[in-house]
């Protein structure tokens, strides 16, 4: 398969790992921001190829994991209302809310459907004019343009029975939070390739300059990640702190301008609560007032819920790279993919689930 096989070539991967081993004169702590990258690192055992001193910690970039508990509860509440068809990407369905997940809501009679695109949800709305169709608009900057487009189209085509429950989050404010923490250990970042495909990497330049930290925007295949790691180690060894682009086959400096435009037209930046971390200023997207008719929180007049997270879950520390999943006393015992205590154990991209699936005997 072109554009895939060459990025999974074991010989190239081993050569890159060897290069890292030659360059590294001291230990370095690197963080991959994106959950998709965590998944690849675990699935291919990239950590095993690297010299011992190179430590990889997992970042907050799993959209499923950082969606706040009260929003899951709101989704379940809406899904259970009569006349509602609740649509979502598949992996949101198994995220535990306070009492159950969307799969269980479906088993109790709610009409919950997995879609691959918000435009599919819009089609369902068009075909079911007597029903209220809600799409769970979750994710980072990567999914925001498509979600914005669906809302935009709903207004343009006058599809009044379509609304979106929005829980969009932004990557740079989360990286800033990690870097500002007095306990921060991260010395270099593997930047989120999909997010930067949309947004470009201008914002990351500011972070690199302000905190003197190297950032390499990377893809999602093993060779991508190993190349990014080698670029980071080279920068760290040479005392540089620059933004470099490993994922040049997808990412440009300015990003996708058209996608950014539709995002800006439909969404505006606001404070947002992150599951396990708390509120981060200016870290999320909400629908603009002009689109209030398609805002599920307005349509269903949701009261703002406040829900206490289970104190036992250390996902806050995992998502900030301060702890590894195996450091958690519940990991693999009371907290498994079958009965997750916290969201990182749910999605395949969640750090805890990735560790559990690929590494728990290591």
């Amino acid at each position: 398969m072109r554009y895939v096989d060459e990025y999974r070539d074991p010989q190239i991967a081993h050569a890159l790992a060897g290069k890292v081993a030659c360059m590294a004169t001291r230990p370095w702590v690197l963080m991959e921001v994106c959950g998709g990258q965590t998944h690849t690192l675990m699935r291919y055992g990239i950590g095993d190829l690297l010299p011992k001193g190179i430590e990889l910690v997992h970042g907050p970039g799993c959209p499923v994991c950082v969606t706040p508990l009260e929003l899951i509860d709101q989704a379940i509440h809406i899904a259970g209302l009569p006349g509602v068809i609740f649509t979502s990407y598949g992996d949101m369905l198994r995220v535990p809310g306070s009492h159950c997940d969307l799969f269980q809501a479906r088993a109790r009679g709610a009409d919950v459907r997995v879609v691959y695109s918000p435009m599919d949800a819009l089609n369902i709305a068009r075909e079911n004019p007597a029903k209220k169709i809600v799409f769970f608009g979750v994710g980072f900057e990567t999914t925001a343009p498509a979600n914005a487009m669906a809302v935009w189209e709903a207004r343009r085509q006058g599809i009044a029975n379509f609304s979106m429950l929005v829980s969009h989050v932004l990557v740079p404010p989360a990286m800033r939070l990690i870097l500002e923490s007095p306990k921060n250990r991260v010395q270099g970042f593997i930047g989120p390739g999909h997010v930067c495909t949309i947004m470009g990497f201008r914002e990351y330049q500011e972070l690199a300059d302000e905190f003197h930290v190297p950032i390499v925007v990377a893809g999602f295949e093993p060779v991508d990640l190993l190349e990014a790691i080698s670029m980071l180690v080279a920068q760290l060894e040479e005392g540089r702190a620059e933004v470099e682009n490993q994922y040049s086959r997808s990412v440009e400096y300015k990003g996708n301008i058209a996608a950014q435009r539709v995002m800006r037209d439909v969404f505006t930046v606001a404070d947002r609560k992150w599951r396990g971390i708390g509120e981060i200023a200016q870290s999320g997207l909400v629908l603009r007032k002009e689109f209030a008719a398609h805002n599920a929180e307005r349509v269903f007049q949701l009261e703002s819920l406040f829900v206490e997270e289970p104190k036992e879950c250390i996902s806050a520390l995992v998502l900030q790279g301060l702890k590894k999943p195996v450091d958690c006393p519940a990991f693999g015992k009371r907290c498994t993919p079958m009965s997750p205590l916290g969201a990182p154990m749910v999605s395949a991209e969640g750090a805890c689930a990735a560790w559990y699936q690929y590494k728990r005997h290591a």
Partner: protein, 357 residues
């Protein structure tokens, strides 16, 4: 900046406040062939049905009736769409039943067919399903000797569901069981994986991408016959990796035999288009259903002979030795990746979920 919660966490007080994993209702994941399905068996059915024949948990029961050794199996088919590239619910029902018998080493002979039909279902479509079923049975050399029909109200079914049973006769001296894998045994796979599941998914509504992926739905009893003839009684067990995929079959064998199994990523064939579809959908081919493949555990000294026999059969042309059975870590399946690292190949907790991005 938000408070870091570390100070609040006292590991000694670690208890699960919301045991969401304890389900009080059936969810779709119970039908996935993964961990939830296994729990359903363990928690609901085995405690009340338990007996020595059932407790072997193989794909078929082996019964001694008046001196004859019979294999007996049942299966239900709820595939959507009813017609897909490479087959339909009718041919699938025959192949699935034939294969469940064949995996026990039996020669399939007779089948039943029961139809649960939704009110309003077109007769013409039912006729096509029945015709396809008859054709598949003829080709496989099994006879449909009894059946039943039930009609449910519109909205209470999904077109048509088919339930089958199958009866076959055991070969003298052959006893295959998932509990017989031993350290040193080889793991043989009859061909590429993931074809059926991706063909179904690609033809489902709502997923509009064009592929030429065809289901591998096929009867495997003749392949099994060739393997057993060449095996000198060295085949320990066979499974057809249907729902839950290759990973589920290997986990079941490792668990039942109290061994671990290591497979090699490089040896497992996944056709290019299937890989592409899986990439696109965020699925792992190891967990995707097959309907015309088998995985066999064979004693090391006869593995090459069995492999040769497989490759001479049209259903096993792409067969390969993909791994070995090992001592220790009972129930664990691992895979040596193309990178030389090792990872766990676990049962899925529920259905594979398409990812957000």
């Amino acid at each position: 900046m938000p408070e870091i919660l570390e100070a609040l966490i006292d590991p000694a007080s670690f208890v699960c406040p919301t045991p969401i994993g304890v389900l009080d209702r059936i969810v779709l994941g119970h039908g996935s062939g993964g961990r939830l399905s296994a729990n359903l068996l363990r928690d609901v059915f085995l405690p009340v049905f338990s007996n020595p024949v059932l407790d072997r948990l193989d794909d078929q029961a082996v019964l001694d009736i008046g001196g004859a050794q019979l294999a007996f199996t049942t299966d239900s088919f709820v595939v959507k769409p009813l017609f897909f590239p490479g087959g339909d619910i009718g041919s699938l029902a025959v192949h699935g039943t034939v294969n469940d018998l064949a995996m026990g080493g039996a020669t399939p002979l007779y089948m039943s067919a029961a139809f649960i039909i939704e009110e309003g279902f077109p007769l013409e479509t039912l006729g096509r399903v029945a015709f396809s079923m008859a054709e598949a049975a003829n080709a496989a050399g099994v006879t449909i000797v009894t059946g039943d029909t039930k009609v449910v109200e519109r909205g209470k079914g999904d077109g048509v569901f088919i339930n089958t049973t199958g009866i076959g006769i055991m070969r003298p001296g052959v006893r295959l069981s998932a509990s017989q894998a031993r350290p040193g045994d080889r793991v043989l796979l009859s061909g590429s994986i993931g074809d059926h599941g991706t063909a179904i998914m690609a033809s489902r509504e709502g997923l509009e991408f064009e592929t030429t992926i065809v289901s591998d739905s096929a009867p495997l009893h003749r392949l099994v016959a060739d393997m057993l003839a060449a095996s000198n009684n060295s085949v320990r067990c066979m499974r057809d990796p249907t729902r839950g995929g290759l990973s589920s079959s290997l986990n079941e064998i490792a668990e039942a035999s109290g061994v671990s199994i290591e497979i090699e990523e490089k040896k497992i064939l996944v056709h290019g288009e299937v890989r592409g579809a899986c990439e696109l959908l965020g699925l792992d081919p190891l967990y995707v259903a097959n309907e015309g493949k088998l995985v066999a555990i064979v004693a090391p000294e006869c593995a090459d002979a069995v492999l040769e026999a497989m490759r001479r059969n049209v259903r096993g042309e792409e067969a390969a030795i993909i791994g070995t059975v090992q001592r220790g870590h009972a129930g664990l399946v691992t895979m040596r990746t193309a990178f030389g690292s090792s990872r766990i190949v676990d049962l899925l907790p529920g259905d594979q979920l398409p990812r957000i991005c």
